[in-house]
């Protein structure tokens, strides 16, 4: 590459590489630690690679916690949040964009106004409500308060707005129902948007801490994100074990990101109202 010949360009590139390496180093260090036996973890000196390579910490976590159950809870609740949020928001965004109905403006105004719903401020009344529903310590209780994500409605509305009227009119002339129009014309046109939003919603629900921490107290509904710190050993030497739990909790979202890198970055730009 020609521009690398200029020394300041090369310097800037090296600086970028160096700072990226430093930024990601804690991640590397955490993973390496999990592969060492506990006594080596606390041994003096810095070893960037394990002297004795072991999966003992992982085996310990698998054998001594209910991490399989937490995984199930996380997949079920994050999956349900994703499907419901996408389904409800796409439908609502479609109606606001394409159909005329009373209170349409009011509804959209409300959604815009609650752009940044402070769920943290509603923990008290959500807890009371979930108790009224008998959903404390259940999947339903974990899922419901996470369903309000107005920004997804806004993004869908904007995308449906940008589809030319002709598509709609042509399809209606063919006698297509609104439902068919929505599921077979409008949604497929925005498949990329839907996948991007679904991935980021899933990651958000998987990572949620405060609410699942409040509503789930036992393994019955505890998610892996909460589980790795709630039921951790408070006694004994344990660094590698703690971090092994952390690595396992992060694995699904890290993989989702690495596989769908482009979609994730796209979704973030979308949800902030910037087209990348």
């Amino acid at each position: 590459m020609t521009r690398w010949r200029r020394p300041d360009e090369l310097l800037l590139t090296l600086l970028a590489l160096l700072s990226a390496g430093l930024w990601a180093f804690p991640l590397y260090w955490a993973v390496v630690t999990t592969l060492k036996p506990e006594y080596e973890v606390v041994a003096p000196g810095i070893r960037l690679w394990p002297q004795t390579f072991t999966f003992g910490a992982y085996a310990y976590v698998l054998a001594n916690t209910n991490i399989a159950r937490w995984y199930l809870n996380s997949f079920a609740t994050a999956g349900a949040v994703t499907v419901l949020v996408i389904g409800m928001s796409a439908g609502c965004g479609y109606a606001i964009s394409q159909l005329r109905f009373p209170l349409r403006r009011l509804l959209f105004g409300l959604i815009l106004a609650s752009f940044m719903v402070p769920l943290q401020a509603l923990i008290v009344t959500h807890f009371v409500l979930m108790n009224d529903f008998g959903l404390i310590n259940s999947w339903g209780g974990v899922v419901l308060p996470q369903l309000i994500v107005p920004v997804v409605v806004i993004v869908y509305k904007q995308f449906f707005d940008s589809i030319p009227r002709e598509f709609r009119e042509a399809a209606l002339m063919d006698g297509a129902s609104e439902l068919r129009l929505f599921t077979q014309v409008f949604l497929p046109m925005n498949w990329g948007v839907t996948t991007a939003l679904a991935i980021i919603t899933f990651i958000g629900a998987w990572n949620a801490f405060l609410w699942p921490f409040l509503v789930a107290s036992t393994d019955r509904a505890m998610t892996v994100t909460v589980g790795i710190v709630q039921v951790h050993d408070s006694f004994g030497v344990q660094y590698a074990r703690n971090l092994a739990g952390a690595v396992m909790a992060a694995m699904p979202v890290a993989l989702a990101y690495l596989i769908f890198q482009r979609r994730v970055t796209e979704a973030i730009a979308l949800s902030a109202g910037i087209k990348g």
Binding site: R100, M116, A121, T125, I148, N207, V229, N242, V253
Partner: protein, 302 residues
């Protein structure tokens, strides 16, 4: 068929049909919105006038909870600490995000993918994972960052146990965790600047700094304003990192508002008073959201 009906009816019948169809599309979201957002908000207001425990009814106490709020030492401290945390995070993370974006955007190909992934990966991790990693990296006895701290301070520092260090370090970890989000927004914004502008400036002999001052900065400002407001609202809601790293200590020096809601409502079983604190936070965030909406609108982005 249309001729058989009066023009007004012809319009009204499909309109009613359309409204019914719209209702079917809107209903799931609208019902969820009513039950899970509007109702809890109204209930929060009602609770704030009672002395109810977390679960169960209380007596109407009028403005007593609000009066107590003004005299409550730990509450006032937690507001102050929240503001301190916002000050420590919002501007630094915005500037750092821009700097990193400028660094990344001039790379291309695999180099760019790798560098971007390094900066972005922390953002998609659960908060508990992030705090476990940093507790280990910063551990006083065995942390790999301690030699670095010793370089500055002479001796090791238990960063989450020291009143001077705790909040800045929580802010640091937060920036490390969430900065990738800002980087992405800035990259998207930078790519929207037409390359011709830079080419023209280069022809005029403008240096890198001059180009940044006269082209990049004015054109990236709307994104900067957006990032600033998003971060402001986000960081006001700080709880997770504090709860996991310092529990509000040492000696309450990192106690924040959401943690105080949790303490009153869940630890001490004061649902009514907890609701009052929550309502305070709610009002602040709504106010800032309005501000953000204004920012978005003036940007004229669809």
């Amino acid at each position: 068929m249309a001729e058989a009906l009066s023009p007004a009816r012809a319009r009204r019948a499909p309109a009613r049909r359309e409204a019914l169809q719209a209702a079917a599309f809107v209903a799931p979201f609208a019902i969820a919105y009513l039950v899970l957002f509007i109702y809890p908000t109204l209930k929060l207001i009602q609770l704030s006038f009672t002395n109810a425990p977390l679960i169960g009814d209380g007596k109407w106490v009028g403005w007593a909870n609000y009066a107590r709020l003004l005299r409550d030492h730990l509450f006032i401290q937690s507001v102050y600490h929240t503001v301190y945390f916002v000050a420590l995070t919002v501007l630094p993370t915005t500037l750092l995000g821009l700097a990193i974006a400028l660094m990344v955007v001039r790379l291309s190909g695999w180099l760019r993918s790798i560098v971007l992934a390094c900066f972005f990966l922390p953002y998609i991790l659960p908060v508990t994972v992030v705090t476990l990693i940093w507790q280990w990296v910063l551990d006083l006895q065995f942390g790999i960052a301690q030699p670095l701290l010793r370089l500055f301070g002479g001796s090791g520092v238990a960063v989450f146990k020291s009143a001077a260090w705790a909040m800045p370090m929580v802010a640091f970890v937060t920036i490390w965790w969430t900065n990738g989000f800002n980087v992405l927004l800035f990259i998207a914004g930078l790519r929207n600047i037409p390359p011709d502008y830079y080419a023209a400036a280069a022809l005029d002999g403008a240096g890198r700094m001059a180009q940044f001052r006269h082209i990049t900065w004015p054109l990236i400002w709307p994104v900067t304003a957006l990032v600033l407001t998003i971060q402001l609202i986000l960081q006001l809601k700080i709880f997770d990192q504090i709860y996991l790293l310092t529990q509000g200590g040492p000696f309450n020096s990192t106690y924040v508002v959401v943690q105080y809601i949790y303490r009153q409502a869940f630890v001490l079983n004061h649902g009514g008073y907890g609701a009052t604190v929550a309502l305070f936070l709610f009002a602040i965030i709504v106010a800032f959201s309005v501000l953000q909406y204004q920012v978005l609108r003036t940007r004229d982005v669809p």
